[in-house]
């Protein structure tokens, strides 16, 4: 049990006025950069970190946490309103969020995203605050072999999203994996498919590919189909009519199982470093669809789809802090950035953190709760603001969005090379869309392909190149069996 004095001191630090202002500032910045296509919370955090060295520790960390949490919800806004997600985990939100917005209920769709995002986030924060130590020990037991098996399981669940045509889905997945192999291979250090561009040694820049495929290709599609008469980017039927725009308690409550499952999936995948929020969002979405009585309503504006994706991808963040705080291991880029912020303040996350910096950690927990509340309140205003903004003529909206995508990718990838990659993949995404290849499948394969290869390589070294030796790893065996059951069940459901 923690020392009560330390706990209270930490909490009172968190609830000080200065800290509160930094949290609010962070959430506002986070929601804004999250909502602007092309820029994301990760980039905002990366830029802010060197400056936090000149700030006191708790407000610095609280600000970054605020940016991150704000960004988790902010990212859903363009995904829902314009179908232009800036990150792959928001692409899962767009699957149902955008159809609902097109039905004239953009406020309702974003509200559902806000509520489920905060539900998932709060759940994983509570897990973090109460039982992080035993969970971190569990995460340590997950070695390369187990994580490899876990990824196979995740893939088997996500495979349910492959779409109507199995052949096209498989082609899109293989193409995604091919793109993931660009760069220096993890085992021998040989550069692959780099065509003389040293920029490609580290692989295709993730942000450029995601924004190109998901956001810019959609912008191209919309601009190509735009007529000569100006129309607004989205028609909001609800206006100020509360019966259309609100999410009733009954609707929220009907999503309870979906959100609970999303929160658990997000928390588990977040606590295990190396897999991340993209897999969590899609796994939650796919399992919500499969468990549903009416799976055909998914992808057509089902609020459960929004709830599944948002609760899972937001739950990842809180849970990412479990391995970070307890054993000093970041589970995502955002978590790695938080570690650098800790480090420049002379704080090394790890086994002694709670003993040496208890007050700071309880302050951080307080700041996280505060940030969730702030997110909920600020979100109410910002979603209205954005739905207003988006009702401007679509020629204005989409051309400014394109400009922002270019600027964002230029900044985050360090130059025009990233912009070129983005434009190439925008065209690729456009063409894939026209011919009915599922872009989402490509994105999942591309984003998870890199770490899948690393874990496969590690597993092969550890097992001496003999996969049958996996029998010595019971957790891995159990996960592979689960994967097989899930594939069998998928096929069974499809036929039945």
């Amino acid at each position: 049990m923690p020392d009560m004095d330390v706990l209270l001191a930490g909490l009172s630090d968190a609830f000080s006025l200065v800290n509160l202002l930094f949290v609010i500032a962070g959430v506002i910045v986070g929601q804004f950069v999250g909502a602007v296509p092309g820029i994301g919370p990760v980039m905002a955090m990366a830029i802010a970190i060197p400056f936090t060295f000149f700030m006191p520790t708790l407000p610095a960390i609280a600000f970054l946490v605020g940016v991150n949490k704000g960004g988790l919800f902010g990212g859903a806004i363009p995904a829902i309103l314009m179908n232009t997600p800036g990150t792959p985990d928001a692409a899962a939100t767009a699957l149902d969020g955008h159809p609902l917005a097109k039905q004239g209920k953009p406020v309702k769709a974003t509200k559902m995203a806000l509520y489920s995002s905060i539900t998932g986030d709060t759940f994983s924060d509570i897990v973090l605050i109460t039982i992080s130590a035993p969970l971190a020990v569990l995460a340590l037991k997950m070695g390369p072999v187990e994580i490899f098996a876990l990824m196979i399981f995740a893939f088997s669940v996500i495979a349910g999203l492959v779409g109507d045509s199995m052949v096209k889905g498989v082609i899109a997945a293989v193409f995604g994996l091919l793109c993931a192999t660009v760069g220096i291979d993890p085992e021998h250090g040989t550069p692959r498919l780099y065509f003389g561009f040293f920029e490609l040694f580290d692989g295709l820049p993730l942000a450029a590919v995601a924004i190109g495929m998901l956001a810019v290709s959609e912008i191209l599609r919309r601009l190509a189909s735009a007529g000569s008469t100006p129309r607004s980017a989205i028609t909001s039927l609800d206006g100020d009519d509360p019966t259309v725009s609100r999410v009733s308690w009954a609707e929220y409550w009907s999503c309870r199982y979906v959100m609970a499952r999303g929160a658990v999936i997000g928390t588990v995948l977040g606590a295990i470093p190396g897999i991340g929020s993209t897999a969590a969002a899609f796994m939650s979405y796919a399992s919500a669809k499969q468990a549903s009585d009416e799976p055909e309503s998914f992808g057509k504006g089902n609020i459960k789809g929004i709830a599944a994706a948002e609760s899972a991808n937001s739950a990842v963040m809180g849970a990412n802090l479990i391995p970070l705080l307890v054993i000093g291991i970041p589970g995502s880029i955002a978590a790695a950035l938080l570690i650098s912020a800790f480090k420049i303040h002379g704080i090394q996350p790890g086994p002694l953190l709670f003993e040496q910096q208890g007050r700071l950690i309880y302050g951080l927990f307080g700041a996280m709760i505060l940030a969730n509340a702030t997110n909920l309140i600020v979100g109410q205003f910002s979603l209205r603001l954005w739905t207003r903004v988006i009702s401007a003529p679509e020629s204005v909206i989409f051309s400014s969005a394109l400009l922002l995508c270019i600027v964002g990718v230029y900044m985050s990838t360090g130059g025009l090379f990233g912009v070129a990659v983005m434009l190439v993949f925008a065209v690729v995404g456009y063409v894939m869309n026209v011919f009915g290849f599922p872009v989402v499948v490509f994105i999942i394969a591309f984003f998870l392909g890199g770490s899948f290869e690393t874990y496969l390589t590690q597993t092969m070294v550890i097992l001496d190149g003999d996969l049958t030796r996996m029998i010595d790893y019971p957790i891995a065996v159990a996960l592979v069996v689960l994967a097989l059951i899930s594939v069998w069940w998928l096929g069974f459901r499809k036929k039945g």
Binding site: M43, M45, A46, I47, I49, P50, F53, A139, L140, K141, M142, G143, P144, V145, I184, P186, E187, G189, F198, E199, L200, F201, D202, P273, G274, P323, I327, G328, I329, P330, A336, L337, I339, S340, K343, I344, H345, G346, Q348, G350, P351, L352, L353, S412, T413, G414, G415, F417, S451, T454, T457, Q458, V461, I462, D464
Partner: protein, 313 residues
């Protein structure tokens, strides 16, 4: 008031620097400092803090830009063709550059002579570690252990580390199985979870040394570590090999002597400032070490032959 006094101090400092130590040169516009890595990493943080200290001390305007790609190769490719007027500088880590120069020097659009080297900021301290209950305490013990049934799994996150272990393995007949990972955090996870026998670590392991969860087998540098003066280097343990990662700053070749002197003096002062010292201590657990222009050049030239040895060339 405080602002005014800072301003006056900055003005005085820049006058002193301009007229005394720094000969005549001063930049005619903002200086661009290109970082060969993504924002938010160690190189980025160090570079930005050095730039800020330099700005405060000299009054020059310094703009930091990230140019990630290939461990710095993309940035140095651009730097090599920039104008050598002292207003474009680049910061990187020596190891990936040296490895690429050795492995595919002919394909690279630059070589060692494409740059004027100005300063090093610090040397990363690279250790070989194991869980504290491992049945060995030094390199000899690890080699002995690896000759058991299953060999010894060793995690690494950069090519030179793998080569160093291969060198040791080749010389001793050890059965090392090298597991490639992506970060030092992942290596610590593998050590603590008991998934590998030993791994490399560049500072992330220090809290675990203090808590007693891990032990240090050797320093992989060409010298012992400040926080573990009793642990001998791999070299001291009988294998003539080491890895010395340095953070360094260079400019395109062809700087005038005045420019070079002014820049390296300004960098030296910034690197040894209290802020930079604190950040280096916090992130790398070591002191700043500026080798100066000549020392940095020697470090790079010597590095090529050392890395060539790692590759057995």
């Amino acid at each position: 008031m405080k602002k005014l006094s800072t301003f006056v101090t900055a003005l005085c400092v820049s006058f002193v620097l301009a007229f005394a130590a720094h000969a005549e040169w001063k930049p005619s516009g903002p200086i661009k400092l290109l970082i060969g890595f993504d924002a938010g990493g160690e190189t980025d943080t160090l570079g930005r803090v050095v730039a800020k200290a330099m700005e405060d001390q000299t009054g020059w305007k310094i703009i930091v830009e990230n140019k990630p790609g290939g461990g710095g190769i993309a940035m140095f490719t651009g730097l090599a063709v920039a104008k050598p007027d002292g207003q474009t500088l680049g910061m990187g880590v020596n190891m990936p550059i040296l490895v690429n120069l050795v492995l595919r020097g002919k394909d690279l659009p630059f070589d060692l002579d494409s740059f004027d080297y100005l300063a090093t900021i610090a040397r990363a301290q690279l250790a070989i570690i194991a869980k504290s209950d491992a049945p060995f305490d030094d390199m000899a013990g690890l080699i002995e252990y690896s000759k058991g049934d299953d060999g010894a799994l060793i995690a690494f996150d950069a090519k030179p580390q793998e080569l160093l272990m291969n060198f040791v393995g080749g010389a001793s007949g050890a059965n090392f199985k090298l597991v490639p990972t992506k970060s030092s955090a992942e290596m610590i996870q593998d050590i603590l979870g008991g998934h590998v026998a030993a791994s490399f670590a560049a500072g992330a392991h220090i809290p675990y040394l203090e808590s007693g969860d891990v032990k240090m087998i050797a320093s992989a540098n060409d010298g012992r570590h400040s926080y573990a003066p009793d642990t001998p280097t791999v070299k001291e343990q009988g294998f003539d090999i080491f890895v010395d990662p340095y953070f360094f700053i260079a400019a395109p070749a062809g700087l005038s002597d005045d420019t070079k002197a002014a820049l390296s003096a300004a960098l030296n002062e910034a690197i040894n400032s209290d802020e930079v010292k604190a950040v280096i201590m916090n992130t790398l657990k070591t002191e700043p070490s500026d080798l100066g222009p000549q020392g940095t050049t020697d470090m790079m030239t010597g590095g090529v032959s050392n890395v060539a040895k790692l590759f057995g060339k």
